[in-house]
């Protein structure tokens, strides 16, 4: 594997934003035990845009994404330093209620993970637990989110069927609908289409572009074409650093760094 001088080129600070920023991280480090997985990342994500994070395996993309809504808390050995600013609050600070925060910063995982419940309950479950009990309200949210996720037409007659009976692509869209049901501000997606076939992938991609008008999306992807197709901004991760970040168009056509260029032209990854 080719070596790049990452420490010099890594993004450590950023200029004052021109647009409204939904989330930003400063000098974010993530450690798993003694191993430093993320070595200081500063990025900001614009509201109502899709930002893609690309990079080779092991570059820390997923780890970074999971840090954003503190999913790393659930891994015993993980430790996070640096700040994650969301609505003028540091997500990592003890004042912030982690469960409330996760309602606003939702997440969709690489492998579809619907609950072993009915399609309806997959969406209604968390709502009920957070206090929405009325049937009419639940019905409305279920229908709306399934429509947003582009799944409504396929499942509207079988809402009481087990979610596990759906195809992989449908399950993933159900998981997106499930996350949307809580009306999050930001939706984090960790390679949402990597476990799916090409047709399902394109349906999910369509869904994401539709969602952009109401949500801020941060998508980790392995698939550069996908990043190019759907995202407005792209960050390139390498060895625990964010090396380059900019408008997707610019990153894919005129990358500033050799490393980025090598990666997107397929020299490694």
């Amino acid at each position: 594997m080719q070596k790049y001088d990452v420490t010099k080129t890594a993004i450590k600070t950023f200029s004052q934003p021109e647009h409204e920023i939904a989330l930003q991280t400063n000098d974010l480090h993530v450690y798993y035990g003694d191993h430093e997985q993320i070595k200081g990342v500063a990025l900001q994500f614009e509201r109502y845009k899709i930002s893609a994070i690309i990079g080779p395996s092991g570059s820390g993309k997923s780890t970074y994404l999971r840090a954003l809504n503190r999913m790393n808390d659930e891994i015993q050995s993980a430790k996070v330093t640096g700040s994650i600013m969301y609505r003028d609050l540091d997500v990592n600070s003890p004042q912030v209620d982690v469960y409330e925060m996760r309602k606003h910063i939702g997440m969709v995982f690489q492998r579809p993970n619907p609950f072993a419940k009915s399609i309806y309950d997959n969406i209604a479950f968390a709502l009920r637990r957070h206090g929405t009990k009325k049937k009419a309200a639940l019905d409305e949210i279920v229908e709306k989110t399934l429509q947003q996720a582009g799944l409504w037409k396929e499942v509207k007659d079988s809402l009481s069927k087990s979610a596990l009976a759906l195809s992989g692509g449908q399950q993933q869209r159900l998981c997106i609908a499930r996350a949307l049901a809580l009306k999050p501000d930001i939706l984090l997606l960790d390679e949402p289409a990597s476990a799916l076939d090409p047709i399902s992938t394109s349906v999910v991609e369509d869904t994401l572009t539709q969602l952009k008008k109401d949500y801020t999306l941060i998508v980790v992807t392995h698939n550069m074409q996908q990043a190019a197709r759907i995202s407005d901004y792209t960050a390139f991760f390498y060895d625990g650093y964010a090396l380059e970040y900019g408008a997707t168009n610019q990153i894919f056509t005129q990358p500033k760094l050799k490393a980025t260029n090598d990666y997107i032209s397929g020299h490694f990854g």
Binding site: N69, M71, E74, Q76, Y99, E100, M101, R102, K103, G106, M107, V108, F109, R111, N113, P114, F115, A116, K117, S118, I119, Y120, D121, F125, A126, R129, H130, S160, K161, S162, L164, C175, R178, A179, L182
Partner: protein, 295 residues
């Protein structure tokens, strides 16, 4: 050629071994049932035991066994569920957890006599519960807890981690994720374990001899007020169970039909335990279908 023959021989031997295992069980069951079933009748199942005359039944013992079982399971189920949840969801991988797990393993391999005597000194003597269903149920809880806890822990651990992430990412606490998502999914396994545990409890004798006692005073089945001393529901009355009864009459029985009663009681005991086993299987499967098939 030699290798092929070896393969043949090995296969035959393995078939023989498996056949022997099945034969042993079949012989055991047939023996118990053949020896006992002729004595089992409605009268035998419902009438009280007689100390020194023929014609006694096992009605009260059977009721005691069931009541004790229900009480023991009521106490041990929530505790083992909580403990299992802690071990599989919260416990960190360190020496303390290893210590706790070793402690549980030891409790599970403890001879039940020791548990019974401990229960005797603590509940019967110290807490003054006397020889009672309550003392027995608590002793059985001790005896049952490690197995149930391990079963809960294993069942929970077998549910995929992605389900936990799903719940957590929806802003649910780990506890609610576990109780509302993971436990339901693990329910088939947990239920099977609980029912098998119930079977063990039902057949346990050594832990009960000194706690629930070895006498079965007549019960007044018309009075269900649990405070009445002869009420079937009174948890502070002494209660000889079926398994203890078998042990006792084999040891000290002076009724003329000892052999018949003990064979009959053994048959009933085994049948009930088998029913537990079969229902565990059936119920686990049914539950799994129900859980994954929507409401």
């Amino acid at each position: 050629m030699n290798v092929r023959r070896q393969d043949k021989i090995a296969t035959v031997v393995l078939y023989l071994i498996s056949g022997t295992i099945i034969l042993i069980l079949a012989a055991l069951l047939l023996y118990i049932l053949a020896a006992g079933l002729p004595h089992v009748s409605w009268h035998f199942l419902t009438s009280p035991a007689r100390a020194f005359e023929a014609g006694g039944g096992i009605g009260i013992q059977l009721f005691n066994s069931l009541y004790l079982l229900v009480l023991a399971m009521l106490i041990s189920m929530p505790v083992s569920l909580g403990a299992g949840i802690y071990l599989s969801e919260y416990a960190k991988k360190n020496w303390r957890t290893t210590f706790v797990q070793t402690a549980i393993e030891i409790l599970s391999s403890l001879p039940s006599v020791v548990v019974g005597l401990f229960g005797f000194l603590i509940f019967v003597v110290q807490f003054k519960f006397g020889f009672s269903i309550l003392s027995g149920a608590l002793a059985l809880t001790f005896f049952n807890l490690p197995l149930l806890t391990r079963n809960v822990e294993e069942s929970l651990a077998s549910v995929q981690g992605s389900q936990r992430e799903a719940g957590l990412a929806l802003g649910l606490s780990r506890f609610e994720t576990v109780t509302r998502v993971i436990v339901p999914e693990a329910l088939p396994g947990i239920t099977t374990g609980m029912i098998l545990g119930a079977g063990r409890v039902f057949g346990e004798a050594a832990a009960l001899i000194y706690t629930a006692g070895q006498s079965a005073p007549a019960l007044d089945f018309s009075n269900w007020n649990p405070f009445y001393i002869a009420s079937p529901l009174n948890p502070l009355r002494p209660a000889e169970t079926l398994a203890v009864h078998i042990w006792k009459i084999n040891s000290e029985g002076i009724m003329p039909d000892v052999a018949a009663v003990s064979a009959g009681a053994s048959a009933v005991l085994v049948i009930v335990v088998l029913l537990f086993n079969l229902s565990a299987r059936w119920f686990g499967k049914w539950l799994f279908k129900k859980m994954t098939g929507g409401d």
